[in-house]
Symmetry: C2
Subunit: 278 residues, 2 copies
């Protein structure tokens, strides 16, 4: 694998969560990987400033911070807490030097059956968070999650819904995350990628493959690139035709990958990226 | 529960698959349930003609037969076998006295990543099967399945896609199945129900509730009515506003329900129907 092959590759930290941040930085240096997507929890555990220094010293670009969101609560106190937590996430993104905070919107509050109302509360929260994010040089990237997460994780299930929300705000405040795992089944997604690109709202592009059978709870069965049903070059073609030329993050939640040696998984993931995406 | 409360209720056989067909007929008589949805495999096991006589003698209306479909194969021999099997399913529906055969379209063939091509092969098969079904007095009801089944079970994931297919054919040949479990997350589904109703294409309406966590394989976790995230009266309102006045089938695949006494589950399901739907 040449540096040119990997210049757009970004390894999302979750894919190799068995690696500590220093181990991840070392493994990236060895392979020639220059981009990483980070998660708040391991960053906080290692220390925000220490992580910022680590990635800076290693010459790594932080392509996204995952994740803010969870903005569907009804109770005022819970809503205030969620907004404050998201402002902190914006601050963390700025400190880490990334301009993109990925948002997972949140599921239905306990006992609620009102998807529409939950989506409207997200819109209200975006109106609060967008200007704050802009003031810190950070863009919010609403991530539609697969409809199988609609009740308990994310009431925004399609790119169409994500853009319907994002377009109420300026593009430099609110855009979308395009992740193949969540949208590959949707025949309307290609036209929505074009819509997002025309509006300058593709804030990140992430990959995971679709493999079955899904595991219990359906969280940790995202397939290694090339193992599943998704034609990665086809989706890369859609985002590129829509003007996206940024990093391409591979973000896999997969118990099988997590049980293996992290450096080996990183090497395999980089190779699969070159074989199936570039 | 009065007979009026249950007049539109249909118990899909799969909900209480632990009951034999005679046990199901007895339990329905005791409760005042007059409608059943049947499945091909248990009907074949009991005998097609014997089942037809059993339901006729019991005064039961067969609201649907589940299921035909699986029409996405590429190889000519496999395609011919699938078409022949679907013609037999049409014959079985006619013998049982139902005018509706539910179709589950089929997933991606092994190794294929081409959802569009698979959907086109379904259209071709519908062109073959529609006139045959009409000649037997049977309507085909394409069932969009939740997008989590797109790769391995059904490449038709939304009502929009199902109607895009159905509308290539006359409504008395091909329509759709509206099942809350598969479409509840989709904010475009209400307008698509209106579209289906305007075209006379709502061939059956089925209910299951959405509960989490999903079990491994995501097949047998359909929630009892009232246990989950779906507002059943809202969806009943959509199909009624679209002109549907037929039976409402409750079809649950649920390991927990199957482990219990079948009569008890039937009684509970009828009660939940009255409480949450009527």
């Amino acid at each position: 694998m040449s540096a040119a092959d990997l210049s757009r590759f970004s390894i999302n930290q979750m894919t190799v969560k068995q690696l500590s941040l220093p181990e991840l930085a070392d493994a990236c240096a060895e392979l020639g990987v220059t981009n990483v997507g980070l998660w708040r929890e391991p960053v906080q555990a290692y220390g925000l400033d220490a992580t910022a220094k680590l990635v800076r010293d290693a010459g790594l670009t932080v392509t996204t911070l995952c994740r803010g969101g969870f903005l569907t609560a009804i109770e005022p106190a819970e809503r205030a807490t969620a907004l404050e937590d998201n402002r902190r996430a914006v601050d963390e993104a700025a400190t880490l030097g990334t301009d993109t905070l990925v948002l997972v919107s949140g599921g239905l509050p306990a006992g609620s059956k009102d998807l529409h109302g939950a989506r409207e509360r997200i819109a209200y929260a975006l109106g609060e968070l967008g200007p704050y994010a802009e003031s810190r040089g950070v863009k919010l990237a609403i991530e539609p999650l697969h409809p199988m997460y609609a009740s308990d994780r994310c009431v925004v299930s399609t790119l169409t819904q994500a853009l319907d929300l994002a377009e109420r705000f300026p593009a430099h405040q609110v855009g979308v995350t395009v992740d193949t795992y969540h949208i590959w089944w949707d025949d309307r997604a290609p036209e929505q990628i074009a819509r997002a690109g025309a509006g300058g709202r593709i804030h990140t592009f992430q990959l995971a493959d679709w493999t079955t059978p899904l595991p219990e709870g359906v969280l940790n069965g995202r397939g290694q690139i090339g193992d599943g049903a998704i034609d990665m070059r086809e989706w890369k073609g859609y985002v590129e035709a829509a003007g996206y030329a940024g990093a391409i993050e591979v973000e896999l939640f997969n118990d099988g990958l997590w049980a293996r040696d992290g450096r080996e998984v990183l090497t395999e993931t980089a190779r699969r990226f070159v074989e199936n995406v570039m």
